[in-house]
Structure formats: structure tokens, C-alpha cells
Amino acid sequence: MSAVDVLGTPAPAEATGEAGAGPWLSAWRRLRRNPSGIVGAVIVLVFVLVAIAAPLLAPYRPATSEWFGEVTPTTVPGPSDEHLLGLDSFGSDLLTQLIYGARSSLVIGVVSTAIGLAAGAVLGILAGGIGGKVDTIVMRVVDVLLSIPALLLAVSVAALLGRGSFSIMLAISAAQVPIFARLLRASLLAQRGQDYVVALRSLGLRQRRIVVGHMLPNSLGPVLVQATLTLATAVIEVAALSFLGLGDPNPAVAEWGRMLVTAQDRLDQAPHLALYPGIAIAITALGFTLLGEALREALDPRSSR
């Protein structure tokens, strides 16, 4: 027996104070104890709150270009009493743009991840649950999707569908589909050989009930982790697609990626126009990543408790 085995044996549940705890509750307790997880969770929480409460938090309405008159070809008004962060190059209040930008990112990120997850899960469940020819066909489709670089795929889809937020959402989700498909398929396959699945069959449960009632819930953990990490990349990809010119046609729109694009023209005059949205993107992505990693550790029964 190696040292790892000896120490890896979990102490009886009572000893760790987790008596009566189902797997979700135990995971929650482990998550609470993880410092980077807490940091991530706080960042995500702040992001979500800002996004949801945007109308209440922002001093003005977004993308109004109300103060366009104050912007000259060589200057962009900086911080003042009315505009805490100053204006952007289109004359909108910068703080307002940033706050509403969170909303854009959240909506697009969440929707695209949800679509990607749903479509990917369906494919993955078909492949893993049914197996055989269905599995082969589905996985070849998934392989094709995976072989195209994610951003390129997103760009192609967006180009096909035209500009606008919705096409961005679909574009990003296209790249997530194969990831979730593989994840669910792998999870189902891994469980198929396990004794508890055989036991459920021997008890006379139908295949569908075993997959839906037992195997899927046991797959939720990795899916949740992946979804969180995917949200992180989605935030960045939204920005990237906007940066590339896909997405909302209105250049003054409150969206971090677009703000990065338009800031390019004024980089020497007002570098903060790029800095703020850039930092916002980075911190948000970091928050989701930290949370996702902490979730992964918390849900893994073998990690040190």
C-alpha cells in the first residue's frame, strides 16, 4: 500500500462532521473552505449583481452619446463630477457603459453556454446512452466541430447569421457543443461499467430510468464545472467577436469587446478607454475560472478534504 493510498482513505463521515450529508452538501462545505473558490465566487457574484442591477447602479442610460459635443478629435473628457470615469469616444458616460457591458456579457455568456450545454448534452447522452452506430455517427460530427478552432467556428457562424447579439450567442455556443457532448458521453460511458449500474439493471429498472434517474445526476458535477469554465471563455469570446466587428452594428453599444475596439483609435490620448473594459473582462473571466476550479475540487470525492 503506498503512502498515498493510506492517507487517501477518507475518515468516517462522522469524524469529519459531515454526517447525514448528501454529496451536494458535502461538496458545498468543501467549497466554502477553499480560499480561491471564495474569491472566485465573490467576483462572480459581484459581476452578476452589477449586470442585473445595471439600471439601478448606472448613473445614466447606456449608449446615448449624449455628450458627444464634449468629445473632440484630440481629447476625450476625463473624470469629472458628473462623469466619474469620464466619457467614451462616442460621448457616452464611461461608467455607465462599463456597467451595462457587464449585462451584455452576462446575457450572452449565459445564453450561449446554455445553448451549448443543451445541444451538447443531447448529443452526448445519445452517444453514451444508446451507443453503437448512433455513438459513432454523433462522435464523428463532434470530431468535425472540434477540429475547427473555436474562434474560427464562432466567426464563421456569426458571419453566416449576420450581425447582432443573437448570432454571437449561437456562434459561441457552436464551439461549446462538442465539449459538452464529449463530457457527457465520457461520463455516461464511465458509469456504464460500474457495479451500481449493473445492480440497477439486476433490480429490473429500465434503461431509460437508469440513465435519466441515476447516471445523469451523477454526471452533473463535471458538467457544472465545465459550464462555469465555459462561461469564463464565453465572456472573452463575446469580447473577441465584438472586437472583430461581429455583433451589434451600433459601434457605441455598451459591450466590453466593442469598447476595446473603439478605444483603439484613441489609444494614445485616452488609454483608459481600453484599460477599463480590458480589466473588466480579465477579472470576470478569472472569477469564473477560480470558481470553476474550486467546484471541480469540491465535487471530487478524492481530493483532500
Binding site: 500500500m1 503512502a3 493510506v6 482513505t9 475518515a11 469524524a15 469529519t16 462532521g17 478534504r305
Partner: protein
């Protein structure tokens, strides 16, 4: 003086933000040169952790080891990692339970042997290769020269375990610790590997600590036996005395609960009630008392010492109401 003297060994593990577990709670035993001493017990008794503590293989973080482990007079627990590493392999060697995971899957068997040889004896490459082939032959591997160039996955479980033994014996250590060396093997292979191990050990005068949960293995291989429960030694005796006149109620319980191939037809098993998790901390009495049929108030208070000149020479039990002879 004994070759190995373990005295009041205690090992505690503390996890991040969690409770401290005491895996070994005051274990003392000794091993003389050339003898085979058994550490017998079930899960949670601390036998494996004891062996890792002796070898210095416990992780540094979160582990507290107290007591003394005197090997040939030197307390191993006081040595630096570098000094300890020099002794491992040449003075002390270990054979692990699972041969598949204990061998490096990407190195040939010959290489794994020569590595040990060259590290401790400073042999040159060709001398080490020759010695490696000879060692493989000594542990009964047919066609050793060819096998030396093979990888672990190409061998059966029994052969892999023989290779592990060869590695352990490579530098003729004074002491071998074998941790459940045959538990993962089929019974026919187990018999052969145990025979091999005992033969080699006797032949070279090496001492051995054999860790197992199987009383049958103990009966066939050990000279002296230590029975462990919940981190402490509860009975210590020569092999014949232990089986003929077991004293501690846990020992008698085990012997009555184990099915035997030679039992007369219709023999009933007498289970030991409860499980290893039903225990009283040693500081408050006998850890086994919740499961013991004859425990009384005297068993549930204070420290119970390992005593017993009355049991016969070298036979001690940590029991307030030891079993009578003939039970």
C-alpha cells in the same frame, strides 16, 4: 540489542481545516537479526503507517511522528532525509502490496534493478547488469536475461512481485519490510511468493517485518507476532504461543471468526460484533471494549498496559481480562 527497536511510535495526520487523526498510537516492538516478525491487524490498526514511518516514507506536510525507531542503535527519526535515503535500499528495504503500481511502467525491469544497485553500491553499468540478471534468477524468474529487458506489464502478477522482491534484496539489506506482499495475488501464487520470501530471508540472514491481515500467512511465515488494534499493539508473542494460547479478546475473536479450509464440517463461525469504527480512545480504556464480550468497568478507564509475565516468556497482552488457556 535488537536490529530494529520501535518504541512508543506515534503518528498523527492533520488535514487542512480538518480534524487530526492518530493513525499510530504508541506502537512498540522489536526485530532481531534473522527473524521474521509479523504485524497483524485489520483496516485502521496502523500497521501500514507504522511501516511507512519506519522507512521514513510518510509525507512531510501534516504528519507528526514521535517516539523512536532505532535501527542498529541509530534513531532513524532523527536522521535528515538525505541520510535516510542512503540507508534505504542498503540497510532497509520495502516490498509493497501492489506490484503493478509499485514498478515504474516505463522502465525495463533490468533498469529498475540496476538503478538501485548503482545508487547504493556504486557498481559500474556492466557489473550492475550482471548482478541484476543474477538477482532475477535467484527470485525464480525463468530466462532472466531476456526478462531483464522486459517491462512490468509483460509479466504476470506473481512475477512482478518477485521482481519487487529482487529489487528489495538487491543490496542485501539487513531488514526488509513486506507490506501485504501477497494480498493482491492468487492463492497458488501467494504460496510460492511467500515461500520464496522466507527462503531468501533465511538464506541471507535478513530480518523481515511482514505486515498482513491474514492469520494463515502469519502462521506459515512468522517467528514472532504483534497483533495491532486501533493504533496499538494488543498482543505480542511467539507464533506458537499466539495461536495455541491467545490472550487478548481481539485475538481470540479473530481466531474464532476466521473460516478455515481444515475446519470440521458444521463448524460455526463466531463473529466479532461491531466494527473497527466502534472504539474507545486508548486514553480512556481499551479501544476494543465496545466489541468485547467480557468488558467491564475496569476496561473502560485509564491506560491499560501491555503486560504479562504470567502469560509465558515473551508473551504479552494489553488486556484486563485475558482469555484463559484452552479457550
Amino acid at each position: 540489542m535488537s536490529l530494529l527497536e520501535v518504541e512508543d511510535l506515534r503518528v498523527r495526520f492533520s488535514r487542512k481545516g480538518g480534524p487530526t487523526t492518530t493513525a499510530v498510537d504508541g506502537v512498540s516492538f522489536s526485530v532481531d537479526a534473522g527473524e521474521v516478525v509479523g504485524l497483524v491487524g485489520e483496516s485502521g490498526c496502523g500497521k501500514s503507517v507504522t511501516s511507512l514511518a519506519v522507512m521514513g516514507l510518510l509525507p512531510r506536510r501534516g504528519t507528526t511522528v514521535t517516539g523512536s525507531v532505532r535501527f542498529d542503535g541509530t534513531d532513524l527519526l532523527t536522521l535528515s532525509p538525505g541520510q535516510l535515503a542512503r540507508r534505504r535500499g542498503s540497510d532497509l528495504a520495502m516490498v509493497f502490496q501492489d506490484p503493478m503500481t509499485s514498478l515504474n511502467p516505463v522502465l525495463t525491469l533490468g533498469r529498475q534493478l540496476t538503478e538501485v544497485l548503482r545508487t547504493h553500491t556504486g557498481m559500474n553499468r556492466s557489473a550492475a547488469k550482471k548482478e541484476a540478471v543474477e538477482l532475477l534468477g535467484r527470485v525464480g524468474i525463468p530466462d532472466p536475461r531476456r526478462r531483464a529487458g522486459e517491462y512490468p506489464h509483460q509479466l504476470s502478477g506473481g512475477m512482478r512481485q518477485r521482481v519487487l522482491i529482487a529489487i528489495a534484496l538487491a543490496c542485501t539489506p539487513r531488514l526488509i519490510i513486506a507490506d501485504e506482499p501477497t494480498t493482491a495475488l492468487d492463492v497458488t501464487i501467494q504460496a510460492q511468493v511467500l515461500d520464496l520470501l522466507t527462503a531468501l530471508v533465511r538464506e541471507s540472514g535478513t530480518a523481515m517485518v511482514l505486515i498482513t491481515h491474514d492469520l494463515g500467512v502469519v502462521a506459515g511465515t512468522c517467528d514472532r507476532v504483534n497483533v495491532l488494534y486501533a493504533g496499538r499493539v494488543v498482543e505480542q508473542a511467539g507464533k506458537r504461543e499466539l495461536f495455541a494460547e491467545p490472550r487478548h479478546r481481539y485475538t481470540t475473536g479473530l481466531l474464532n471468526a476466521v473460516p478455515r479450509v481444515d475446519a470440521p464440517e458444521g463448524t460455526a463461525l463466531q463473529p466479532v460484533p461491531g466494527s473497527v469504527r466502534d472504539l474507545l480512545p486508548w486514553a480512556q480504556g481499551c479501544a476494543f471494549s465496545p466489541r468485547c464480550g467480557v468488558a467491564d468497568e475496569g476496561c473502560r478507564s485509564g491506560e491499560i498496559a501491555l503486560s504479562g509475565s504470567e502469560h509465558g516468556a515473551g508473551h504479552r497482552a494489553r488486556c484486563v481480562h485475558p482469555a484463559e488457556v484452552g479457550v
